[in-house]
């Protein structure tokens, strides 16, 4: 009898190799372990072992053979046992349970199991600690370290243990909360949460004093005390995450708030100017939608998942990507996710920041490399397992992301215009419709996610806020919705369960019908013992909420069940504008819908002009042009991100047409394209841009540059200038500080100005306002680290014909031309940061001139005059030249005398916006000149086809080998 199955791989696995390399230790072995709550007799042990292992490549460990087998690999002396904490999603265990239940049927049931990673090491205790710190996260996992001898003992004596979720017995269904208390005590509720009977607090509600007083007044008027469920629900619904209070607040003299004035305002203005049908669904749904062709709509949404990724990088990132996939599934009647995008803003993985959430070196922040690796693999597993290509992304590094990484995850979706004659992007839950929850079950995971993402990361940040996505459960659910139910028009409305869980999804949908009544005891749970308020706000993943006409309910549920997906009736939508939740017939929530959604106190914000900060000046002298190029090419923000592109499946769905790695030399491109339909040659081009490095100097131009770059990259890739839409993701810091709010207002104003100038609408957006870390450094000093204000602009555009798609690889004989003027704009450039420079300015986007360049480019491209093209962005022209040469493996000759107004450094490294480097065939020069009409371009050289890049000025020629540049450009990022 035993309660464990442990499996060893006969050959060294890839993971073992990489661990061995990382720790420079050949004596590391990883075992797959499973711990059961029930003992297995020999027969069951044999049968189950066989079911979950591979007899060719693996061996099963038993009491008898364990030492014999393992001692062949090394003389191990330590064991690290890593298990998920009880209640944390354990996807492998779920699969194993399903295999066992399928095969053993009734002969083995009512058991629990957990998957375990067991790492065997020969090394010092110090080595072991290092490995366990890097391979496990104490927030979601238990880590046991013990001598190998004890491990053998455990085998002999059968003393491996499985920790189960043990929740104390429920003491109440609802709790009345007395709000007639002092301001001090009210504040405690807001900041630390509702007090339990044992005096402990539930965790932050993120409600300020004014909100709590508003709630108090509401309940005075209805003459009763609020229940805990009501307060929790209001906290979720009114959270910054859900209501975007800062964006909607009066700010200075802008009464309607910056969202209405600058973002939505811009789009309304653009729709007015355009007079076409390009915009289909904006700001009202889970994602924004534009026209793809006559029969299809494409939607796009980008989300952030910053705080969860700081606490559990893998879980945070995977939840981020599968979460935004659900935004697509919840767009209209359900769009099929057809591409993922990502952008990570991280601290340097090679540096040790040593930050602590509490004094005396307690509660450390995860190391920067652990965060970076976890985030990269979280999106890998989420995207790859879901069968959604992930072609488009970027990574940026800066010390100021040490307290909080930024993780942007986006998804593009495709939905027919009409389903059975009805517009597919319209949906409405009708009174009488049944509320059905589908997908995963509800557990304690992700409780208080919405309220806490509205706050800074500090010692009180709750740990149960972390969820881990389960892409397969979601894929099964998504298949039923997209492949089967949607096109039969069986449901009236659909939305995803993200932040705030059921409280938010049902609350939102009920706006369509009037109100709702939910019977909360019907919600299927992962384990017993959850309080009703927990069920109501839990953010357990992989769930959608459907509104289904009563006549279709049976059919829908049956279909889900036949595909191995749970679907449960939990209530109904009603006409009356009331939000009602019951638990076993006891009413635990009864609120007016109006108060629930609009009752929150509106903020009144003031801004002030920021004080100038001193900048450190350093200039590296006596360095050649070629050396400068090498330094820049190998710098973390320019160096190739190929290692990410190759681990993200960008070929699935067979739609990849412009790939992330471009040219024979595999340069990491700044735009990609997919062709989503086999029978239409239209493609969707994707790009994104953010310039946090420009934010402190000029937030207005920071936003302008982001919009210009994201827009330009699509023009360069061949998109139709009139069919480009953009998305805004504001990640700000300290948004209660008037100086930060000033920067926010400036950036938002630029959003209006430049999107209107380019007539490119904002179709969706999201903001995250408090990306600050408050804690302590190693010497116990209290510190605050704020991210630089970051505005990610994602762009999505339609390419009308395959022949419009461009490449970045010039051919021998091509003439090289820079489109757009170059100015002395080295401020905040990569060049200035790495090499240094005196007196200079930051980029200033001239929209009128830019648009002229783009229009001419598009015209020339349609006429097939552009042989290759690349957008010039960070690093400047010198980097664009190098990338062209590396991608094509064709030598280039650059005549530095081709322009005279600025210095060579300025010419090659200035980050002046709105520029494109193109190559054209020699015999097209006169046609080109005709289109561009002698304005805003410079002939800078030609493609020689040699193996070098030559730069020539009056005096000399400076030559660098392409293969050397390639080496610098493809240097591995330290720490990753």
């Amino acid at each position: 009898m035993t309660n464990t199955i442990q499996i060893v791989s006969l050959e060294k696995t890839g993971k073992e190799s990489s661990l061995q390399k990382e720790y420079n230790n050949n004596s590391i072995k990883i075992l797959d372990g499973y711990f059961f709550s029930k003992k297995l007799d020999d027969k069951k042990f044999k049968k189950i072992s066989k079911l979950i292992s591979n007899q060719v490549s693996q061996k099963i460990l038993t009491k008898k053979n364990v030492n014999n087998i393992l001692s062949k690999y090394s003389k191990f002396n330590w064991v690290i046992e890593i298990k998920f904490l009880p209640g944390v999603t354990d996807n492998i265990a779920t699969t194993v349970k399903e295999i066992i239940t399928d095969n053993l049927k009734n002969s083995f049931k009512n058991f629990q199991l957990g998957s375990t990673k067991i790492i065997l090491v020969k090394g010092s205790k110090k080595d072991i600690t290092k490995i366990s710190n890097n391979e496990a996260n104490p927030l979601i996992q238990t880590i046991k370290i013990y001598p190998y001898k004890k491990y053998l003992d455990n085998f002999k004596k059968n003393t491996f243990t499985l920790e189960k979720v043990k929740l104390p017995k429920k003491k109440y269904i609802k709790k009345e909360i007395d709000l007639s208390i002092s301001d001090y005590n009210l504040n405690l509720i807001g900041k630390l949460g509702i007090k339990e009977n044992d005096k402990s607090r539930r965790g932050t509600l993120g409600l300020d004093l004014e909100s709590l007083k508003t709630i108090r007044n509401y309940f005075y008027s209805v003459k009763r005390k609020p229940t805990d469920v009501e307060i929790e629900t209001l906290a979720q619904t009114w959270s910054e995450h859900c209501k975007h209070k800062i964006f909607s607040a009066k700010i200075d003299n802008i009464k309607e708030g910056i969202f209405k004035k600058y973002i939505k305002g811009a789009t309304e203005k653009i729709i007015q100017l355009r007079k076409d049908n390009f915009c289909v669904s904006l700001f009202t749904d889970n994602a924004g939608g534009i026209e793809f062709n006559k029969n299809w709509i494409v939607c796009h949404k980008v989300e952030t998942h910053n705080t969860p990724s700081a606490l559990d990088p893998f879980g945070g990132a995977i939840t981020g990507i599968v979460g935004v996939n659900r935004d697509c599934l919840g767009f209209g009647k359900g769009a099929k996710p057809i591409a993922n995008t990502y952008a990570y803003y991280l601290a340097h993985p090679s540096k040790k920041y040593q930050l602590y959430r509490q004094k005396n070196n307690k509660d450390p922040m995860l190391p920067a490399d652990f965060i970076a690796k976890g985030i990269i693999s979280g999106v890998r597993v989420g995207g790859n397992c879901s069968g959604i290509p992930t072609p488009q992304g970027n990574i940026y590094f800066d010390d100021r992301f040490a307290g909080k990484p930024l993780v942007f995850c986006g998804t593009v979706g495709l939905i027919p215009r009409k389903i059975k004659g009805k517009l597919a992007h319209k949906k409405k839950a009708n009174p009488g419709d049944i509320i059905v929850m589908v997908g995963g079950r509800v557990g304690k995971d992700g409780i208080h996610g919405a309220t806490f993402s509205s706050e800074e990361l500090d010692p009180n940040s709750p740990v149960s806020a972390v969820q881990i996505g389960d892409p397969i459960t979601q894929k099964k659910m998504s298949d039923v919705i997209i492949r089967e139910l949607r096109d039969e028009n069986l449901y009236s409305s659909i939305t995803d369960n993200g932040a705030g869980g059921l409280s938010s999804s049902i609350g939102e949908m009920a706006k369509e019908s009037g109100g709702f009544i939910v019977d909360l005891e019907k919600v299927p749970l992962k384990y017993d013992g959850l309080y009703p308020w927990e069920i109501w706000v839990s953010e357990s993943q992989e769930r959608m909420t459907l509104a289904i006409p009563p006549a279709n309910v049976k059919k829908v549920i049956k279909r889900f069940n036949s595909r191995g997906v749970e679907a449960t009736i939990i209530g109904k939508f009603i006409r009356k504008e009331k939000a009602i939740v019951k638990y076993n017939k006891t009413e635990i929530l009864n609120l007016d819908m109006e108060f629930l959604h609009e009752g929150y106190p509106k903020l009144n914000l003031k801004t002030s002009f920021p004080k100038k900060k001193k900048k450190i000046k350093k200039i590296i002298k006596n360095i050649s042009l070629i050396e400068k190029l090498h330094k820049l090419l190998s710098s973390p923000n320019i160096v190739s991100k190929e290692f990410v592109a190759t681990q993200y499946d960008h070929e699935v769905q067979a739609t990849s047409i412009i790939k992330p790695l471009q040219g024979e030399g595999r340069v990491f491109g700044n735009a990609t394209a997919i062709k989503p339909l086999f029978n239409d040659e239209k493609s969707i081009a994707l790009s994104q841009a953010a310039y946090p490095q420009y934010a402190e100097t000029n937030p207005y131009q920071m936003a302008a540059s982001s919009i210009d770059t994201a827009f330009k990259n699509l023009i360069v890739s061949g998109a139709n200038l009139k069919k480009i839409a953009i998305l805004d993701n504001f990640c700000w810091c300290s948004s209660d500080d008037p100086e930060r709010l000033y920067q926010l207002k400036e950036a938002a104003k630029a959003c209006y100005d430049y999107s209107v100038a380019y007539k490119t609408p904002f179709i969706s957006g999201k903001d995250s306002m408090f990306n600050d870390f408050k804690g302590f450094n190693r010497s116990g000093k209290s510190i605050k680290i704020s991210i630089p204000p970051t505005l990610l602009i994602s762009s999505i555009g339609i390419v009308d014909k395959i022949s419009h798609l461009t490449k970045i690889t010039p051919e021998k004989g091509d003439i090289l031309i820079v489109l757009g003027n170059t100015y002395n704009e080295l401020e905040d450039s990569v060049y200035k940061k790495i090499i240094g420079s005196e007196k200079t300015k930051s980029p200033n986007v001239d929209a009128k001139l830019a648009l002229k360049t783009y229009k001419n480019f598009a015209k020339a491209n349609k006429l097939q005059l552009i042989n290759s093209a690349i957008g010039i962005d960070i690093g400047g022209l010198g980097i664009a030249i190098s990338k062209m040469a590396i991608a094509s493996k064709q030598g280039l000759f650059i005549d530095l005398k081709s322009q005279k107004k600025i210095s060579i450094n300025e010419f090659l490294f200035s980050e002046t916006q709105s520029r494109i480097l193109v190559s054209i065939k020699k015999n097209n020069v006169s046609k080109f000149k005709k289109i561009f009409n002698n304005s805003n371009y410079t002939f800078i050289g030609k493609c020689t086809g040699s193996n070098t890049i030559e730069f020539k000025n009056e005096k000399k020629i400076m030559i660098g080998k392409i293969s050397d540049f390639e080496k610098s450009y493809k240097q591995r990022i330290k720490g990753l």
Binding site: S57, C385, I472, R483, E651
Partner: protein
Amino acid sequence: MRVIVLSGYGINCEDETLHAFEVVGFRGSIVHINDLILNPKQLDNYQVFAIPGGFSFGDDTGSGNAMAKKIMINLYDQLLNFISKDKLMIGICNGCQILINLGIIPETSTKEPEVALIENNTGNYECRWVDVKVTNKSSPWLSNITTLHLPVAHQEGKFMIPNNINNNYIGLQYINNKRLAKGKFPYNPNGSQNDIAALTNKYGNVLAMMPHPERALYHYHVPNWQNDIFKKYGDGYKIFVNAKNYFK
């Protein structure tokens, strides 16, 4: 000519796989495994059985294992029956992993796998284009093909073969400029033994391949296709055409 393309539980390449068959002239259906379990007799209507790529059961307990176990208790005999007739079967990527775990490839004699697909040497997922050469030229899937340029995308694609395998079972091998890759990355993207990228059964009518032909169907799928804009199809097309020609 009809093809059945399997779906469900995390398989995710069914649409493009069916499309590739349709382009060469097949008609076909995507069938959820639970529907096939309920009505296995429908297999009689099809000449080709395709298990597409994906992440069935999230690769938990080893890629393809959980799905293979599900097929083993529900559909194994029907699959053997299908193969024993003059019909074709293909498993691509996750489909390949499933066929290997079912023990259908290379020998079909027992229910035990003889070969394993284990984690790539890099310890990471590899999505990249590779060159392969055809070794078993007698397989209907591979006839008249010399080399192919195709993408791979997997975490566990390294063939591990304890007992030496007859060359006749080797469908495809990774190459580096016309010669075998000799295990060298990235030409051999996973460290596969003998540079093996695909295996067949004895009769060659069952092909289990790690690269994705359906993702190299059209010329615009191929990296740097813009250097030669006059081609219509990519190399993957040849595999599907071979299936059509077999029944012609």
